[in-house]
Symmetry: D3
Subunit: 113 residues, 6 copies
């Protein structure tokens, strides 16, 4: 596991614990729903991960992109599939997504090393 991925997962885990320690019912329900929509259904989890990835790219959320890039790699998405998701996000969202797309590719390549 790359250093960046490890650090990302640890921080995410640590901050999630802070949020969930508040025991706020509505926030917990949202987090549950956020997991539920990516589970296998009529569309498989792999396709859903790509949907999450492209949505994160066009909304330009680095942490969300990193999360879905890692998940995409874990689910066996290939290089060309990744390129095509990035291309669609780039065309839909415009050049303003490029800084995020660059960091997505850096993470993607690091995970292959």
């Amino acid at each position: 596991m790359s250093e960046r991925v490890k650090k990302f997962k640890e921080e995410r885990e640590r901050l999630n614990e802070i949020v969930l320690a508040r025991e706020n019912l509505n926030i917990k329900r949202f987090f549950g729903l956020d997991s539920a929509v990516y589970r296998d259904g009529a569309l498989d989890a792999k396709t859903k991960e790509l949907l999450g990835l492209v949505a994160s790219l066009v909304l330009r959320c680095d942490d969300c992109i990193a999360y879905h890039v890692i998940r995409a790699k874990e689910l066996g998405i290939g290089d060309q599939e990744f390129d095509e998701v990035m291309s669609i996000g780039l065309v839909v969202g415009g050049s303003i997504t490029i800084p995020h797309l660059r960091r997505a590719y850096r993470l993607w390549e690091e995970m292959k090393a």
Copy 2:
């Protein structure tokens, strides 16, 4: 074809003609690229359409959503697949997407009639 779909396609066609009549090279190149990224590749056109749909929903662009809803139906996307794309877009983009999601479902149901 539903009245709404027909009207949407006609207006889209008519306005595209106005834009492209300007013969601006960069705009033409963008339009070409916008078609290219949705063609069959490592991911099939159907999956790419769903990527375009979820990106349009989270960016809350009614015309873009309508375009991809129509294309999704033409490519044979089923009801449950559609629901799952809508669910991901809703969770990623929040309640602010709901007015767009409502209009997406209205169009989807009208195309089935």
Copy 3:
């Protein structure tokens, strides 16, 4: 009830029925959560409505703004409170919110008539 409010409520109701007729569990859960967060709690429903209103204004969602403007009036928000929410939304979101702010005021004034 103003004509605009009546029409807004009817269309909203009609489209919600189309969405909920799909019986998609995750979408239903989201809709439930969307109601839950505005209920009286440590903050009263009135304050929460204003939070929903300012969020809708800065995100520039006309239907969301209309919904919260109507609710704000129903909950007894006064003119000056309304002005102050609009002012904060305008300063946070910039001149790009002005077309939405104009329509919010039109609806607000029509409801007083």
Copy 4:
């Protein structure tokens, strides 16, 4: 003056009156500032109008775009200058701006007729 421009200006005027009738100091100050930044300075009013236009396009605000398209025409912006602003907005903001770009061109062409 095209019918669309006339209708746009009348509605804008009418709704501005509703907003300003409230005599809210902060909203008035914002409206004043919104006029001030487009006046001739180190950059001329024409260039500033183009800055307002491209900002409105990438933020996808139809009313803001229409306002700046009309102003750009009134200030003597030419077809090629207009094309180039549109191209930059399209590349920065992505395909999601296309529906707005189409309507901007429709208005632009109607004003030439």
Copy 5:
């Protein structure tokens, strides 16, 4: 005062000085307006801070969120009130706000320590 709050305030102060040293009238007027809208009025400063906080969360601006989180704590907002603002922002803005919500809670908890 937590180390993070201290560092945030110092950087904010230092950069504001750079901006305001330019003596640009319109930017100064905007900064003045930005202070004015949060002052006690028909709504008290506390409620207005919460409006600023939720607007910042849905617009996903970390620095703006940090500023309003610190102000909310200084004005005596309680844990449950904070949770409810976060919940509304999360539902309105969707999962894309979660990385910002996590950092908001980290800051909130650090200020209690």
Copy 6:
């Protein structure tokens, strides 16, 4: 050249290499188009850079802003022109752009040192 500018350019270069090493045709075409729209035309490159800058500010993309601030300085934009672009972006995009505006000014002033 300031340390920040140097570091920015190196990272940008390094990450662009990772992206372009993928040899993805559509991404390459987009990057080509992204260069093309800023070249001298009916509007000169200097004006186009300001269009890119204001678009980046209202979309709140730090890397995009930094890129255009550096380019604006290289093309000889003066202090007052820079102020006026910042003012328009601030008024259009609202207080939510302020953290980005602060960093833009810091970079601008560092380049003068």
